[in-house]
Symmetry: C2
Subunit: 211 residues, 2 copies
Protein backbone atom coordinates (compact mmCIF):
# COMPACT_ATOMS: atom_id res chain seq x y z
CA UNK A 1 0.00 0.00 0.00
CA UNK A 2 2.09 2.94 -1.12
CA UNK A 3 -0.70 5.55 -0.91
CA UNK A 4 -2.48 5.43 2.45
CA UNK A 5 -5.01 8.10 1.47
CA UNK A 6 -7.82 6.73 -0.68
CA UNK A 7 -8.03 8.32 -4.10
CA UNK A 8 -11.40 7.63 -5.70
CA UNK A 9 -9.98 4.73 -7.66
CA UNK A 10 -11.88 1.58 -8.47
CA UNK A 11 -10.45 -0.37 -5.56
CA UNK A 12 -11.51 2.00 -2.81
CA UNK A 13 -14.87 2.63 -4.47
CA UNK A 14 -15.44 -1.13 -4.44
CA UNK A 15 -14.38 -1.43 -0.82
CA UNK A 16 -16.64 1.40 0.29
CA UNK A 17 -19.56 -0.08 -1.61
CA UNK A 18 -18.78 -3.49 -0.11
CA UNK A 19 -19.01 -2.15 3.44
CA UNK A 20 -22.59 -0.99 3.06
CA UNK A 21 -23.79 -3.69 0.69
CA UNK A 22 -22.46 -6.62 2.74
CA UNK A 23 -23.85 -5.08 5.91
CA UNK A 24 -27.28 -4.81 4.29
CA UNK A 25 -27.50 -8.08 2.37
CA UNK A 26 -24.76 -10.26 3.77
CA UNK A 27 -21.70 -11.59 2.03
CA UNK A 28 -23.15 -14.44 -0.03
CA UNK A 29 -26.07 -12.43 -1.34
CA UNK A 30 -23.74 -9.63 -2.41
CA UNK A 31 -22.91 -10.36 -6.03
CA UNK A 32 -19.88 -9.07 -7.86
CA UNK A 33 -22.08 -7.53 -10.54
CA UNK A 34 -24.24 -5.63 -8.09
CA UNK A 35 -21.19 -4.48 -6.18
CA UNK A 36 -19.59 -3.13 -9.34
CA UNK A 37 -22.81 -1.36 -10.28
CA UNK A 38 -23.06 0.23 -6.83
CA UNK A 39 -19.42 1.29 -6.94
CA UNK A 40 -19.76 2.60 -10.49
CA UNK A 41 -16.97 0.43 -11.87
CA UNK A 42 -16.85 -2.46 -14.30
CA UNK A 43 -16.28 -6.09 -13.64
CA UNK A 44 -12.89 -5.86 -15.28
CA UNK A 45 -11.82 -3.38 -12.62
CA UNK A 46 -13.04 -5.73 -9.90
CA UNK A 47 -10.98 -8.68 -11.06
CA UNK A 48 -8.04 -6.44 -11.72
CA UNK A 49 -7.89 -5.52 -8.02
CA UNK A 50 -9.14 -8.78 -6.47
CA UNK A 51 -8.30 -12.28 -7.64
CA UNK A 52 -11.75 -13.50 -6.59
CA UNK A 53 -14.73 -12.62 -4.44
CA UNK A 54 -13.23 -14.03 -1.25
CA UNK A 55 -10.21 -11.79 -1.62
CA UNK A 56 -12.57 -8.82 -1.67
CA UNK A 57 -14.11 -10.17 1.52
CA UNK A 58 -10.74 -10.21 3.23
CA UNK A 59 -9.91 -6.73 1.92
CA UNK A 60 -13.30 -5.46 3.06
CA UNK A 61 -12.65 -6.72 6.59
CA UNK A 62 -9.27 -5.00 6.60
CA UNK A 63 -10.77 -1.82 5.19
CA UNK A 64 -13.40 -1.99 7.93
CA UNK A 65 -10.67 -2.28 10.55
CA UNK A 66 -8.96 0.82 9.20
CA UNK A 67 -12.11 2.92 8.96
CA UNK A 68 -13.44 1.98 12.39
CA UNK A 69 -9.97 2.03 13.92
CA UNK A 70 -9.59 5.67 12.92
CA UNK A 71 -13.08 6.46 14.21
CA UNK A 72 -12.43 5.01 17.65
CA UNK A 73 -8.90 6.37 17.88
CA UNK A 74 -10.25 9.88 17.34
CA UNK A 75 -13.21 9.47 19.72
CA UNK A 76 -13.30 11.69 22.83
CA UNK A 77 -13.71 8.93 25.42
CA UNK A 78 -9.92 8.56 25.62
CA UNK A 79 -9.73 11.94 27.38
CA UNK A 80 -11.17 10.74 30.69
CA UNK A 81 -8.65 10.67 33.50
CA UNK A 82 -10.00 7.51 35.12
CA UNK A 83 -9.48 4.33 33.08
CA UNK A 84 -12.91 2.97 34.05
CA UNK A 85 -14.45 6.19 32.76
CA UNK A 86 -12.66 5.57 29.49
CA UNK A 87 -14.19 2.11 29.21
CA UNK A 88 -17.64 3.40 30.16
CA UNK A 89 -17.10 6.28 27.75
CA UNK A 90 -16.33 3.78 25.03
CA UNK A 91 -19.69 2.13 25.66
CA UNK A 92 -21.48 5.48 25.65
CA UNK A 93 -19.77 6.23 22.35
CA UNK A 94 -20.92 2.88 20.94
CA UNK A 95 -24.44 3.66 22.08
CA UNK A 96 -24.30 7.09 20.47
CA UNK A 97 -23.36 5.44 17.18
CA UNK A 98 -26.76 3.73 17.03
CA UNK A 99 -28.07 6.23 14.51
CA UNK A 100 -29.73 5.81 11.13
CA UNK A 101 -30.97 2.55 9.68
CA UNK A 102 -29.94 -0.86 10.94
CA UNK A 103 -27.40 -1.44 8.14
CA UNK A 104 -25.78 1.87 9.03
CA UNK A 105 -24.77 1.04 12.60
CA UNK A 106 -24.21 -2.71 12.49
CA UNK A 107 -20.83 -4.40 12.20
CA UNK A 108 -19.44 -5.67 8.92
CA UNK A 109 -17.17 -8.35 10.30
CA UNK A 110 -19.77 -9.69 12.72
CA UNK A 111 -22.14 -10.09 9.81
CA UNK A 112 -19.56 -11.57 7.48
CA UNK A 113 -18.03 -14.10 9.86
CA UNK A 114 -21.41 -15.75 10.43
CA UNK A 115 -21.64 -16.74 6.78
CA UNK A 116 -18.03 -17.56 6.09
CA UNK A 117 -16.57 -19.12 9.23
CA UNK A 118 -16.89 -22.61 7.81
CA UNK A 119 -16.48 -22.01 4.12
CA UNK A 120 -13.88 -19.22 3.81
CA UNK A 121 -11.12 -19.48 6.43
CA UNK A 122 -9.29 -16.42 5.07
CA UNK A 123 -12.35 -14.23 5.64
CA UNK A 124 -12.97 -15.73 9.06
CA UNK A 125 -9.39 -14.99 10.09
CA UNK A 126 -9.65 -11.42 8.81
CA UNK A 127 -12.87 -10.94 10.81
CA UNK A 128 -11.28 -12.45 13.90
CA UNK A 129 -8.33 -10.09 13.54
CA UNK A 130 -10.67 -7.13 13.20
CA UNK A 131 -12.69 -7.98 16.30
CA UNK A 132 -9.74 -9.06 18.42
CA UNK A 133 -7.59 -6.07 17.50
CA UNK A 134 -10.44 -3.74 18.35
CA UNK A 135 -11.07 -5.52 21.64
CA UNK A 136 -7.41 -5.18 22.50
CA UNK A 137 -7.73 -1.37 22.44
CA UNK A 138 -9.82 -1.73 25.62
CA UNK A 139 -7.51 -4.06 27.51
CA UNK A 140 -5.08 -1.46 28.83
CA UNK A 141 -7.87 0.63 30.33
CA UNK A 142 -9.53 -2.42 31.83
CA UNK A 143 -6.26 -3.52 33.36
CA UNK A 144 -5.57 -0.05 34.73
CA UNK A 145 -9.06 0.09 36.26
CA UNK A 146 -8.38 -3.25 37.91
CA UNK A 147 -5.06 -2.05 39.28
CA UNK A 148 -6.60 1.16 40.63
CA UNK A 149 -8.97 -0.95 42.70
CA UNK A 150 -6.43 -3.62 43.59
CA UNK A 151 -8.67 -6.24 42.09
CA UNK A 152 -7.53 -9.80 41.52
CA UNK A 153 -10.53 -11.47 39.94
CA UNK A 154 -10.71 -14.81 38.18
CA UNK A 155 -11.31 -13.17 34.81
CA UNK A 156 -8.78 -11.51 32.56
CA UNK A 157 -8.86 -8.08 30.93
CA UNK A 158 -8.89 -9.88 27.59
CA UNK A 159 -11.97 -11.89 28.46
CA UNK A 160 -13.84 -8.78 29.57
CA UNK A 161 -12.85 -6.89 26.42
CA UNK A 162 -14.10 -9.80 24.32
CA UNK A 163 -17.29 -10.03 26.37
CA UNK A 164 -17.94 -6.37 25.60
CA UNK A 165 -17.58 -7.17 21.90
CA UNK A 166 -19.88 -10.15 22.27
CA UNK A 167 -22.58 -7.99 23.82
CA UNK A 168 -22.26 -5.44 21.03
CA UNK A 169 -22.43 -8.11 18.34
CA UNK A 170 -25.40 -9.76 19.99
CA UNK A 171 -27.11 -6.40 20.39
CA UNK A 172 -26.81 -5.90 16.65
CA UNK A 173 -28.45 -9.25 15.97
CA UNK A 174 -31.37 -8.34 18.21
CA UNK A 175 -31.61 -4.94 16.50
CA UNK A 176 -31.78 -6.68 13.15
CA UNK A 177 -34.47 -9.05 14.35
CA UNK A 178 -36.55 -6.25 15.87
CA UNK A 179 -35.90 -3.72 13.13
CA UNK A 180 -34.51 -0.90 15.26
CA UNK A 181 -31.73 0.13 17.65
CA UNK A 182 -33.78 0.35 20.88
CA UNK A 183 -33.10 -3.22 21.98
CA UNK A 184 -29.39 -2.74 21.29
CA UNK A 185 -29.30 0.42 23.40
CA UNK A 186 -31.01 -1.43 26.24
CA UNK A 187 -28.44 -4.20 26.05
CA UNK A 188 -25.61 -1.71 26.13
CA UNK A 189 -27.16 -0.21 29.27
CA UNK A 190 -27.08 -3.63 30.89
CA UNK A 191 -23.45 -3.99 29.91
CA UNK A 192 -22.64 -0.58 31.36
CA UNK A 193 -24.40 -1.64 34.54
CA UNK A 194 -22.31 -4.80 34.67
CA UNK A 195 -19.07 -2.87 34.40
CA UNK A 196 -20.21 -0.42 37.06
CA UNK A 197 -21.13 -3.23 39.44
CA UNK A 198 -18.01 -5.19 38.62
CA UNK A 199 -15.62 -2.37 39.37
CA UNK A 200 -17.55 -0.63 42.13
CA UNK A 201 -19.50 -3.27 44.01
CA UNK A 202 -17.87 -6.65 44.07
CA UNK A 203 -15.37 -7.47 41.40
CA UNK A 204 -13.65 -9.96 43.64
CA UNK A 205 -16.59 -12.30 44.10
CA UNK A 206 -15.54 -15.80 43.14
CA UNK A 207 -16.76 -17.42 39.97
CA UNK A 208 -20.31 -18.56 40.75
CA UNK A 209 -19.74 -21.87 39.00
CA UNK A 210 -16.25 -22.44 40.27
CA UNK A 211 -14.67 -23.65 37.03
Amino acid sequence: MPAPTAKPNARSKLLDAALSMIRAKGYSATTVDELCAAAGVTKGAFFHHFRNKDELGVAAAEHWSEVTGALFAAAPYHDHADPLDRVLGYLAFRKALLQGGVPDFTCLVGTMVQETYETAPAIRDACDRSISTHARTLEADIEAAMRDRAMSPDWTPESLALHIQAVLQGAFILAKAKGGPQVAADSMDHLTRYLTLLFCAGGDTPNPKGD
Copy 2:
Protein backbone atom coordinates in the same frame (compact mmCIF):
# COMPACT_ATOMS: atom_id res chain seq x y z
CA MET B 1 -50.80 -30.16 11.51
CA PRO B 2 -52.78 -33.29 12.35
CA ALA B 3 -49.76 -35.43 13.29
CA PRO B 4 -47.43 -33.65 15.74
CA THR B 5 -44.83 -36.41 15.66
CA ALA B 6 -42.49 -36.15 12.70
CA LYS B 7 -42.67 -39.06 10.32
CA PRO B 8 -39.59 -39.27 8.11
CA ASN B 9 -41.38 -37.54 5.27
CA ALA B 10 -39.74 -35.20 2.82
CA ARG B 11 -40.82 -32.05 4.64
CA SER B 12 -39.31 -32.90 8.00
CA LYS B 13 -36.21 -34.35 6.37
CA LEU B 14 -35.75 -31.05 4.56
CA LEU B 15 -36.30 -29.04 7.73
CA ASP B 16 -33.81 -31.12 9.70
CA ALA B 17 -31.24 -30.79 6.94
CA ALA B 18 -31.92 -27.06 6.77
CA LEU B 19 -31.14 -26.59 10.45
CA SER B 20 -27.62 -27.92 10.16
CA MET B 21 -26.85 -26.68 6.67
CA ILE B 22 -27.98 -23.09 7.26
CA ARG B 23 -26.10 -23.02 10.55
CA ALA B 24 -22.94 -24.14 8.79
CA LYS B 25 -23.09 -22.15 5.56
CA GLY B 26 -25.68 -19.47 6.14
CA TYR B 27 -29.01 -19.02 4.42
CA SER B 28 -27.96 -17.51 1.09
CA ALA B 29 -25.18 -20.00 0.48
CA THR B 30 -27.54 -22.90 1.16
CA THR B 31 -28.89 -23.92 -2.23
CA VAL B 32 -32.11 -25.81 -2.77
CA ASP B 33 -30.27 -28.51 -4.70
CA GLU B 34 -27.72 -29.11 -1.97
CA LEU B 35 -30.42 -29.10 0.66
CA CYS B 36 -32.39 -31.72 -1.23
CA ALA B 37 -29.29 -33.85 -1.67
CA ALA B 38 -28.50 -33.64 2.05
CA ALA B 39 -32.08 -34.50 2.96
CA GLY B 40 -32.21 -37.33 0.45
CA VAL B 41 -35.23 -35.95 -1.39
CA THR B 42 -35.79 -34.52 -4.83
CA LYS B 43 -36.38 -30.97 -5.92
CA GLY B 44 -39.94 -31.83 -6.76
CA ALA B 45 -40.55 -32.73 -3.13
CA PHE B 46 -39.04 -29.44 -2.02
CA PHE B 47 -41.34 -27.29 -4.12
CA HIS B 48 -44.27 -29.46 -3.24
CA HIS B 49 -43.87 -28.56 0.44
CA PHE B 50 -42.53 -25.00 0.08
CA ARG B 51 -43.64 -22.41 -2.45
CA ASN B 52 -40.12 -20.97 -2.58
CA LYS B 53 -36.84 -20.88 -0.71
CA ASP B 54 -37.92 -18.07 1.62
CA GLU B 55 -40.89 -20.11 2.76
CA LEU B 56 -38.46 -22.84 3.78
CA GLY B 57 -36.54 -20.23 5.72
CA VAL B 58 -39.65 -19.29 7.68
CA ALA B 59 -40.52 -22.93 8.27
CA ALA B 60 -36.95 -23.65 9.39
CA ALA B 61 -37.15 -20.86 11.97
CA GLU B 62 -40.44 -22.26 13.26
CA HIS B 63 -39.03 -25.78 13.31
CA TRP B 64 -36.06 -24.46 15.24
CA SER B 65 -38.40 -22.88 17.78
CA GLU B 66 -40.19 -26.18 18.29
CA VAL B 67 -37.02 -28.25 18.62
CA THR B 68 -35.26 -25.87 20.99
CA GLY B 69 -38.48 -25.09 22.85
CA ALA B 70 -38.87 -28.75 23.72
CA LEU B 71 -35.20 -28.97 24.72
CA PHE B 72 -35.42 -26.06 27.15
CA ALA B 73 -38.84 -27.03 28.48
CA ALA B 74 -37.45 -30.44 29.47
CA ALA B 75 -34.21 -29.07 30.93
CA PRO B 76 -33.60 -29.58 34.66
CA TYR B 77 -32.93 -25.95 35.57
CA HIS B 78 -36.66 -25.39 36.13
CA ASP B 79 -36.48 -27.54 39.26
CA HIS B 80 -34.63 -24.98 41.38
CA ALA B 81 -36.75 -23.52 44.16
CA ASP B 82 -35.29 -20.03 43.91
CA PRO B 83 -36.19 -18.14 40.71
CA LEU B 84 -32.71 -16.61 40.46
CA ASP B 85 -31.25 -20.11 40.62
CA ARG B 86 -33.51 -21.03 37.72
CA VAL B 87 -32.15 -18.15 35.64
CA LEU B 88 -28.56 -18.97 36.58
CA GLY B 89 -29.34 -22.62 35.90
CA TYR B 90 -30.57 -21.65 32.45
CA LEU B 91 -27.21 -20.03 31.77
CA ALA B 92 -25.31 -23.03 33.08
CA PHE B 93 -27.45 -25.18 30.79
CA ARG B 94 -26.63 -22.92 27.83
CA LYS B 95 -22.95 -23.21 28.69
CA ALA B 96 -23.21 -26.98 28.90
CA LEU B 97 -24.66 -27.03 25.39
CA LEU B 98 -21.36 -25.72 23.99
CA GLN B 99 -20.35 -29.15 22.75
CA GLY B 100 -19.17 -30.41 19.39
CA GLY B 101 -18.26 -28.25 16.41
CA VAL B 102 -19.22 -24.62 16.07
CA PRO B 103 -22.14 -25.33 13.70
CA ASP B 104 -23.51 -27.78 16.27
CA PHE B 105 -24.03 -25.34 19.13
CA THR B 106 -24.75 -22.04 17.36
CA CYS B 107 -28.19 -20.58 16.79
CA LEU B 108 -30.07 -20.94 13.52
CA VAL B 109 -32.21 -17.84 13.80
CA GLY B 110 -29.35 -15.62 14.92
CA THR B 111 -27.42 -16.73 11.86
CA MET B 112 -30.36 -16.41 9.51
CA VAL B 113 -31.61 -13.01 10.60
CA GLN B 114 -28.26 -11.41 9.87
CA GLU B 115 -28.56 -12.25 6.19
CA THR B 116 -32.27 -11.72 5.72
CA TYR B 117 -33.34 -8.82 7.92
CA GLU B 118 -33.35 -6.40 5.02
CA THR B 119 -34.25 -8.65 2.13
CA ALA B 120 -36.76 -11.17 3.53
CA PRO B 121 -39.13 -9.62 6.09
CA ALA B 122 -41.02 -12.87 6.57
CA ILE B 123 -37.86 -14.65 7.67
CA ARG B 124 -36.81 -11.76 9.86
CA ASP B 125 -40.18 -11.81 11.62
CA ALA B 126 -39.96 -15.56 12.11
CA CYS B 127 -36.48 -15.18 13.64
CA ASP B 128 -37.68 -12.36 15.87
CA ARG B 129 -40.57 -14.49 17.06
CA SER B 130 -38.20 -17.36 17.82
CA ILE B 131 -35.81 -15.22 19.85
CA SER B 132 -38.48 -13.18 21.61
CA THR B 133 -40.62 -16.18 22.51
CA HIS B 134 -37.59 -17.93 23.94
CA ALA B 135 -36.58 -14.83 25.89
CA ARG B 136 -40.08 -14.61 27.31
CA THR B 137 -39.63 -18.01 29.00
CA LEU B 138 -37.13 -16.28 31.30
CA GLU B 139 -39.22 -13.27 32.22
CA ALA B 140 -41.36 -14.85 34.91
CA ASP B 141 -38.31 -16.11 36.80
CA ILE B 142 -36.57 -12.76 36.46
CA GLU B 143 -39.63 -10.97 37.74
CA ALA B 144 -39.99 -13.37 40.66
CA ALA B 145 -36.33 -12.90 41.55
CA MET B 146 -36.87 -9.15 41.54
CA ARG B 147 -39.92 -9.46 43.76
CA ASP B 148 -38.10 -11.71 46.22
CA ARG B 149 -35.54 -8.97 46.72
CA ALA B 150 -38.03 -6.10 46.60
CA MET B 151 -36.09 -4.56 43.75
CA SER B 152 -37.43 -1.64 41.74
CA PRO B 153 -34.74 -1.04 39.16
CA ASP B 154 -34.91 1.10 36.04
CA TRP B 155 -34.74 -1.94 33.78
CA THR B 156 -37.51 -4.38 32.95
CA PRO B 157 -37.53 -8.18 33.11
CA GLU B 158 -38.05 -8.14 29.36
CA SER B 159 -34.94 -6.05 28.74
CA LEU B 160 -32.83 -8.35 30.90
CA ALA B 161 -34.19 -11.45 29.18
CA LEU B 162 -33.35 -9.92 25.80
CA HIS B 163 -29.92 -8.87 27.04
CA ILE B 164 -29.25 -12.49 27.98
CA GLN B 165 -30.15 -13.50 24.44
CA ALA B 166 -27.92 -10.76 23.04
CA VAL B 167 -24.94 -12.05 25.03
CA LEU B 168 -25.57 -15.59 23.81
CA GLN B 169 -25.87 -14.49 20.18
CA GLY B 170 -22.75 -12.38 20.44
CA ALA B 171 -20.89 -15.20 22.12
CA PHE B 172 -21.70 -17.39 19.13
CA ILE B 173 -20.29 -14.80 16.75
CA LEU B 174 -17.05 -14.67 18.71
CA ALA B 175 -16.94 -18.48 18.78
CA LYS B 176 -17.31 -18.52 15.01
CA ALA B 177 -14.55 -15.95 14.58
CA LYS B 178 -12.19 -17.79 16.93
CA GLY B 179 -13.13 -21.29 15.81
CA GLY B 180 -14.11 -22.72 19.19
CA PRO B 181 -16.47 -22.43 22.15
CA GLN B 182 -14.00 -21.18 24.77
CA VAL B 183 -14.64 -17.49 24.17
CA ALA B 184 -18.38 -18.11 24.30
CA ALA B 185 -18.06 -19.90 27.63
CA ASP B 186 -16.05 -16.99 29.01
CA SER B 187 -18.70 -14.55 27.91
CA MET B 188 -21.42 -16.63 29.54
CA ASP B 189 -19.39 -16.53 32.76
CA HIS B 190 -19.36 -12.75 32.60
CA LEU B 191 -23.10 -12.76 32.08
CA THR B 192 -23.57 -15.06 35.05
CA ARG B 193 -21.42 -12.70 37.09
CA TYR B 194 -23.59 -9.77 35.99
CA LEU B 195 -26.77 -11.49 37.14
CA THR B 196 -25.18 -12.45 40.44
CA LEU B 197 -24.02 -8.89 41.08
CA LEU B 198 -27.29 -7.43 39.88
CA PHE B 199 -29.47 -9.50 42.19
CA CYS B 200 -27.11 -9.82 45.14
CA ALA B 201 -25.03 -6.66 45.29
CA GLY B 202 -26.72 -3.60 43.97
CA GLY B 203 -29.64 -4.00 41.64
CA ASP B 204 -31.08 -0.67 42.69
CA THR B 205 -28.17 1.50 41.60
CA PRO B 206 -29.47 4.18 39.28
CA ASN B 207 -28.76 4.08 35.56
CA PRO B 208 -25.17 5.33 35.24
CA LYS B 209 -26.07 7.48 32.26
CA GLY B 210 -29.36 8.69 33.63
CA ASP B 211 -31.37 8.38 30.40
